[in-house]
């Protein structure tokens, strides 16, 4: 989560980027590339595709730098671009392949622990993959990027009640899908 200092720095960096400062732009890329890639990877499920889309996000940031207005947090604006790029990608290609190889399980676990962890990861990933794109993106932004409902509302350009509805319906769907998993345990 960004501290206030980090938030201010992002705004300053983006203002300099808007003036054509490529050093500032590079700093923005380095600061946010991991988060952007994580969101997109969780969304599309494929590492190579996620990297391509993440690059597309930052290229859009550069190309629209002169239109940037610091009326909201920089990350809200960034995640709006992430959302658009991700949803457009899914619309273009309705399949998303599972890419379990990219998921590195913690080395602290025993081999059995690692296997169980990997199984859990796959189960959760499959469950989230079942969600409609809008619900899926809202879940990823909230649960893994810690965006508030208000921030999600701004990033996805939907109302606050719509965000709450998306996330509640996603929770219900996930509960239904994961119920057998809980029974097994």
């Amino acid at each position: 989560m960004n501290t206030n200092k980090g938030v201010d720095q992002d705004v300053q960096l983006m203002k300099r980027t808007a003036q054509g400062d490529s050093d500032a732009f590079k700093t923005i890329v380095v600061r946010h590339q991991a988060s952007v890639l994580n969101v997109i990877y969780r969304f599309v499920g494929n590492r190579v595709e996620a990297e391509d889309l993440a690059q597309e996000v930052f290229i859009k940031v550069w190309k629209s730098r002169e239109q940037y207005k610091p009326v909201a947090k920089f990350t809200t604006w960034l995640y709006r671009i992430v959302t658009n790029v991700s949803l457009n990608a899914i619309r273009r290609k309705r399949t998303s392949s599972l890419d379990c190889l990219a998921e590195i399980v913690s080395g602290d676990l025993s081999p059995v622990g690692q296997l169980l962890k990997k199984e859990t990861n796959v189960v959760i990933k499959n469950a989230i993959d079942y969600l409609p794109p809008n619900q899926k993106m809202a879940v990823i932004l909230h649960r893994f990027e810690n965006l508030s409902y208000k921030e999600i509302s701004e990033a996805m350009k939907i109302s606050l009640p719509a965000v709450e509805s998306l996330l509640h319906r996603a929770s219900l769907k996930l509960t239904e899908i994961l119920a057998p998993y809980f029974d097994k345990k």
């Binding site: 890639l37 690059q55 930052f58 962890k117 859990t120 990861n121 409902y149 996330l167 509640h168």
Partner: protein
């Protein structure tokens, strides 16, 4: 509040997204409603599990590929003069190049005035005389009352 309305707000409650007054109202309902409490616990269990989804993609290095695609290989210079240069560099380059090329072309053209006299010279002998006269004229070596001057005069007369 009816149970359906309460249950619709349970995810927001779990996400700490409710205003205090609403949260207290719902929690008061949960304290007295077994059905809603069970639903609350089911959702809580689901979201706790979902939160366990780990993704670790290792080192991320997108900068090189991004730079290649937007052609920003080097950092731009700082400073007022550099800023002015960078602002006007690209837009000015093309018209500036065009002006330079045009200037060179015009200069070349003007340095070779149209030679209407040459087209009227018919014989080889006259042409040779004319060339000799022109050459001497270009070299500014035609002294007055000399054979060279006479050649030049003849050449001009023959072509008039």
């Amino acid at each position: 509040m009816p149970c359906e309305e309460i249950q619709n707000r349970l995810t927001a409650l779990l996400d700490n997204e409710l205003a205090l007054a609403e949260r207290l109202k719902i929690e008061a309902h949960l304290a007295e409603c077994k059905r809603c409490t069970e639903e609350f616990q089911r959702l809580s269990q689901t979201l706790s599990l979902v939160d366990q989804w780990q993704v670790s993609l290792g080192p991320v290095g997108l900068l090189g590929a991004i730079e290649e695609k937007i052609s920003v290989p080097y950092p731009e210079s700082s400073g007022i003069l550099a800023s002015i240069w960078n602002t006007f560099r690209a837009p000015a380059l093309v018209p500036l190049s065009a002006v330079i090329i045009l200037g060179i072309t015009i200069g070349l053209v003007l340095s070779f005035p149209p030679n209407q006299v040459w087209t009227t010279i018919k014989t080889k002998e006259q042409k040779e005389q004319y060339l000799q006269a022109v050459k001497m004229d270009m070299l500014k070596e035609i002294p007055p009352n000399t054979v060279a001057e006479s050649y030049f005069t003849v050449a001009v007369q023959n072509n008039n």
